[in-house]
Amino acid sequence: MKELAGKTLFDKIWDAHVVEEIKGGPSVLYIDKHLIHEVTSPQAFAGIDKRGISVFRPQHTIATPDHNIPTVDQHLTIQDELSRFQVDKLTENCEKHGVTLYGLNHPYQGIVHVIGPELGITQPGMTMVCGDSHTSTHGAFGSVAFGIGTSEVEMVLATQCILQPKPGKMRITVDGELPKGVTAKDVILYIISKISTSGGTGYFIEYAGSVIRSLSMEGRMTVCNMSIESGARGGIIAPDETTFDYIKEKEFAPKGEEFDRAVKSWKVLKSDEDAVFDQELHFDAADIEPMITYGTNPGMGAKITGHIPFVEETEAGNRESYKKSLAYMDFEAGTPIAGRKVDYVFVGSCTNGRIEDLREVATFIKGRQKADHVTAWIVPGSKQVEKQAIKEGIADVLEKAGFQLRQPGCSACLAMNDDKVPEGKLAVSTSNRNFEGRQGPGSRTMLASPITAAAAAVTGTVTDPRSML
């Protein structure tokens, strides 16, 4: 008889949450925590109402508005009528169904993927979903977390379960030591540039190796956050002391003895030595430099010291799309990436809008000034981040350097509100997507780490931050 192989971390959590297997079909997966926001939930609540049922387990769903809110004057009524209606609808639905809501101006409000971890809602071993693809962020804690569509949001509201086929398993190991000036964002941009925006499709990725272990929780969140940009269902990192230290004392984390008991149960959450992955990839930290994207999908990234690939250097079947992408960016193949003039700098989003990111930028910026022609926005990921930034004097440093500190929300990451990069303007952005028009119709986006964005703000051009450290 063939010996049974060990289980991966992902298997352990997934299998423990399967309520029922449908023959030849998906699994019925139980969801521990469900996060919702104003854009992808109204149709789901409408569905519940139409069926005449109530939310099955309202205590497991948490709501906050983030995508479609202004980042100035949040104490006033939202000006845009449609946005206001959508945010009001969320409030109404939450009240009606007994769902906890951290509304505008609530001290816990913020981008869903920033508040979950900072409030201690996100914990190892959980299944978590949200009608948002960057739910993968929460995998940094050793939870199985992934984005879902609105029909699935309705499933969770109705039954606390979703129907889901089990994805394949991939492990990406990054070993070595990150050189100075190279951050978690560079690691994930590097990985996606290697495996492309479809390389992870069909998989759940476990990140491992000494580089991943050495990252802070914020850094791990940045890596897991962008898993989806490789097409993967999600990312996951085995919890360790870094994880437990982060969770300890957080608002909704278990306390005292209960916390110790929880840690004990979290410690077993790792892949068995003999676990088998469907695919394994290895990368060496020594090859990673500050990365930046030059095209219109997150896989089109390169070392900041490099050049925009010549057409012949790209995949044969893909060249028409490649040319279209460069035409949109108004970039020429073969030219150096660094040195081009930047109009906007955006530091924020669920990828890099946490307190550690703001600290990094402030440390870099201190005593420097942004270039005159650059508009620089800092958008904290949450109310708590904003508060902390003010408390630590970070807000001051940034404002002195000419940055605009705005109020928490998704902001220019998807430009649903007024925070839009104007047509034709070039932005260096710490967010996660550089699709055509993502930051406003006709806007052009280069994705990079917070310090690379800060360097661009200071010099007014795409600049290797290592030259300024």
Binding site: V39, R51, K89, E320, R438
Partner: protein, 206 residues
């Protein structure tokens, strides 16, 4: 709540030979402010379809008088990026019943299936044959037979010729999802029907 049953579709198709079509292109974020599922078709591919002054761009396939039909053909890695189900709603609302590509992003595929929009994944080779056939003759027909999981491309011309020149490929679909589509079953009805089991599962865990 049952949804509409999916029947065999026979139609001409609209070609979109672009790779990595992301859901931000299918429906840009600024059109996601609605709180119902209707009307998204109007803004399908908004920034590819219309210029700054809201005038249709004549070189875009959806605006062409040559192409029509209820089948959309996209390049590899269709539907990547944001999980917004609005993308599937927009395509369906516009009037498409099937999207064909050689590769689909995961969440888009789920969203499409949950909305009676059938994603048909074909080989690279078959996809390029479809594109070529349509380019040569926009009246080329495609037949999507869900029950037999078969997609057939037939050249134009009189019926007997068409039959001889047609080429088919089998496509995969999860058997459960296939049943749902063919019969108009709804996932939530199913989940609601096992609520007892779910409650027992919760009990057993505590």
């Amino acid at each position: 709540m049952s949804t509409k049953k999916f029947h065999t579709i026979e139609s001409t198709a609209v070609p979109l030979p672009i790779e990595n079509v992301d859901t931000d292109q299918i429906i840009p974020a600024r059109f996601l402010k609605a709180t119902t599922r209707d009307g998204f078709g109007e803004n399908l591919f908004r920034d590819w379809r219309f210029d700054k002054n809201d005038q249709p761009k004549t070189d875009f396939a959806l605006n062409s008088s040559v192409y029509s039909g209820t089948i959309l053909i996209g390049g590899k890695n269709f539907g990547s990026g944001s999980s917004r189900e609005h993308a599937a709603w927009a395509i369906h609302d516009y009037g498409f019943k099937v999207v064909v590509s050689s590769f689909f992003a995961d969440i888009f595929k789920n969203n499409a299936l949950n909305n009676g929009l059938l994603p048909v994944q074909v080989s690279e080779d078959f996809l390029s044959r479809i594109f070529q056939a349509i380019e040569k003759d926009a009246s080329s027909m495609l037949k999507v037979d869900l029950k037999n999981q078969q997609i057939t491309l037939s050249a134009s011309g009189e019926p007997s010729l068409r039959a001889r020149r047609s080429q088919s490929e089998r496509f995969d679909i999860n058997p459960y999802k296939k049943e749902c589509l063919l019969n108009g079953y709804d996932d939530i009805d199913f989940l609601l029907s096992i609520k007892e089991t779910i409650a027992q599962f919760e009990q057993a865990r505590t």
